[in-house]
């Protein structure tokens, strides 16, 4: 059984439907990517899974139906969501952002964990008292990821980390992401526009077009697919 099973997920805003019945699976320890162009419904997919927009269908997490649960309830079950645009809390310092990340934890090791993550992301460590809003995009993205890990998640929803970042920076972010997910054996559902890069890191992928999954398969397979190459890889 998969860690996450999405079946026939439908969602929209008001009268406008955005998703038309998606099926997605994520296995334990797996990094799965959902590819798609702007407006294809990627962000909505993540928001529907984490209960930020109302949706129909079924989302099973660890064998339990979670559709309709609030983000903080899911957090308690080990699912953490890094929103699009990074979602750093701009008026707070780096350290405070990390502390907010651990706010739902009841244990007393939050402060030592903060130090741990500052070590894992040395660039954050250098800027520990700087306000998040004044940092560069790449640093903010790393902070967002580090903050998500502060809640000790087993499963991470990650929304377009490459948005607005230079290619080199994006690669650095992905490298870090791979390291920490490997270290903590965290499963990830990633949505991305940058298919080329994402498929290098992902195990499997789905391709989303206008709210429907038009293709899925192992990363290498998708990388080799001509249509994908045309549409997303710019080849």
């Amino acid at each position: 059984m998969s860690l996450l099973e999405v079946r026939d997920l439908r969602a929209g805003y008001g009268m406008v439907e955005v998703l038309f019945g998606l099926d997605i699976d994520v296995d334990e320890g797996e990094l799965v990517v959902v590819l798609g162009a702007n407006g294809s419904g990627k962000t909505t997919t993540l928001r529907a899974i984490s209960g930020m927009v109302s949706a129909t269908g079924s989302v099973t997490y660890k064998g339990q139906e979670v559709l309709g649960k609030r983000p903080d309830q899911l957090l308690g079950m080990g699912m953490s969501h890094v929103p699009q645009g990074r979602g750093t809390i701009n008026a707070l310092s780096v350290v405070d952002n990390l502390r907010v990340g651990g706010i739902s934890r009841k244990d007393s090791e939050v402060d030592s964990d903060v130090e741990l993550w500052l070590e894992r992301f040395p660039r954050l460590g250098e800027r520990r008292d700087q306000l998040a809003g004044s940092m560069s995009g790449g640093e903010q993205q790393m902070l967002a990821i580090a903050r998500a890990f502060m809640s000790k998640p087993e499963f991470l929803l990650l929304d377009e980390p490459s948005l607005g970042l230079a290619p080199l920076v994006t690669r650095e972010v992905f490298d870090r992401l791979r390291d920490v997910t490997a270290d903590t054996s965290t499963s990830v559902l990633l949505v991305e526009q940058n298919a080329n890069l994402a498929l290098q890191f992902a195990a499997r992928g789905y391709v989303l077009e206008a709210g429907e999954i038009v293709m899925s398969g192992p990363a290498e397979e998708l990388q080799g697919d001509e249509a994908i190459q045309k549409a997303y890889l710019g080849i």
């Binding site: 984490s50 930020m52 609030r70 983000p71 903080d72 957090l75 308690g76 953490s80 969501h81 890094v82 929103p83 979602g87 750093t88 809390i89 701009n90 008026a91 707070l92 405070d96 502390r99 907010v100 990340g101 706010i103 739902s104 809003g133 903050r147 502060m150 809640s151």
Partner: protein, 316 residues
């Protein structure tokens, strides 16, 4: 044996005898200004707390303070000791603040998206609370004794009422508590996080609605103290805070919407300017608030976020 007295500028045709105050009363007037400033700072603090936790400006906060000061008076009038009455009033204010948030403000959604709706709803609350207070407590002003009594001490020839010293001390205790709350506690951290980015905070497991409610409640509780210190001077009536609120707003515009330090400095500057300047410059005699406003306009032109405010506030 009268010293000749002259205004600094502006001749007053109506005046037959020189009517400017002698220079040696500057200190006395300054003390008045500091006392008023402490009250404005308290009202300003309430506004800052709401702004910091919910990102909105509350036009009804003066009326909330007035309403909860009436609760203080009710307890005090029943024979409770003043400190207990004040606690009761703060608790009452807290509950009303929570209720107001839950019923009227929270359903509006993001205040930054709909500033007009926020203005209108808080104005509606302004009218409603004022009307309700008049229905409950009537139109006759009530007497609320000064918390710290009516006696004065003389320092260097200047008489200072204990009430004023009390106001400044209470203000600083409040600032200290607020500072500690925001700086050191999980709740304070959560409130700051929600104010800056409620979506991310929710994703981190912060209970956004509870924090917003807490912010409203705290602000209303703090406002109660502003009312408790204003009422002995102005008389406790339903219009206690209508104009005082404008002074409180002036304080935070000057200091910055989101700065606790700014509210305190702004409150004292507004209090001192509006007490001292009209004593020396005739044209301001009838408009004590005007000097503060002129300063504020000047500040806004160069630092739209206020003296101590953080930058993104200006983008409200």
């Amino acid at each position: 044996m009268r010293p000749s007295r002259k205004r600094i500028w502006g001749s007053d045709a109506k005046s037959l005898s020189g009517r400017g105050p002698p220079v040696n009363n500057f200190l006395e007037i300054l003390v008045v200004g500091i006392g008023n400033g402490a009250t404005y700072a308290m009202l300003g603090l309430g506004l800052v707390v709401i702004y910091r936790s919910t990102g909105l400006l509350n036009f009804a906060s003066g009326e909330l303070a007035m309403f909860s000061t009436f609760i203080v008076w009710t307890f005090w009038n029943l024979g409770f000791p003043m400190w207990l009455a004040i606690l009761g009033g703060m608790l009452g204010g807290f509950l009303i603040g929570v209720l107001v948030h839950k019923v009227a403000v929270s359903p509006l959604g993001d205040p930054h998206e709909r500033p007009l709706a926020v203005v209108i709803v808080t104005i509606g609350l302004f009218l409603g609370l004022n009307g309700a207070a008049q229905l409950i407590w009537g139109t006759v002003d009530k007497r609320l004794d000064p918390w710290f009594g009516v006696s004065q001490i003389t320092v260097g020839g200047v008489a200072i009422a204990w009430q004023k010293i009390g106001a400044v001390v209470v203000l600083f205790v409040m600032v200290l508590l607020l500072w500690a709350l925001f700086k050191f506690t999980k709740v304070g951290l959560s409130m700051r996080a929600v104010a800056s980015n409620s979506e991310s905070s929710a994703l981190c497991g912060v209970s956004v609605q509870n924090m917003l409610m807490l912010g409203w409640g705290m602000a209303a509780g703090i406002g109660t103290l502003a009312g408790v210190f204003s009422a002995p001077n102005l008389g406790l009536g339903t219009n206690l805070m209508q104009l005082t609120l404008v002074f409180g707003f002036a304080a935070i515009v000057l200091g910055g919407f989101d700065s606790i330090l700014g509210a305190v400095v702004g409150g004292f500057v507004v209090g001192i300017l509006s007490s001292v300047v009209p004593q020396y410059i005739t044209v301001f005699e009838k408009m004590p608030l005007a000097p503060a406003f002129i300063l504020i306009l000047a500040v806004l032109l160069f630092r739209p976020q206020g003296l101590f405010g953080s930058k993104d506030v200006a983008r409200v």
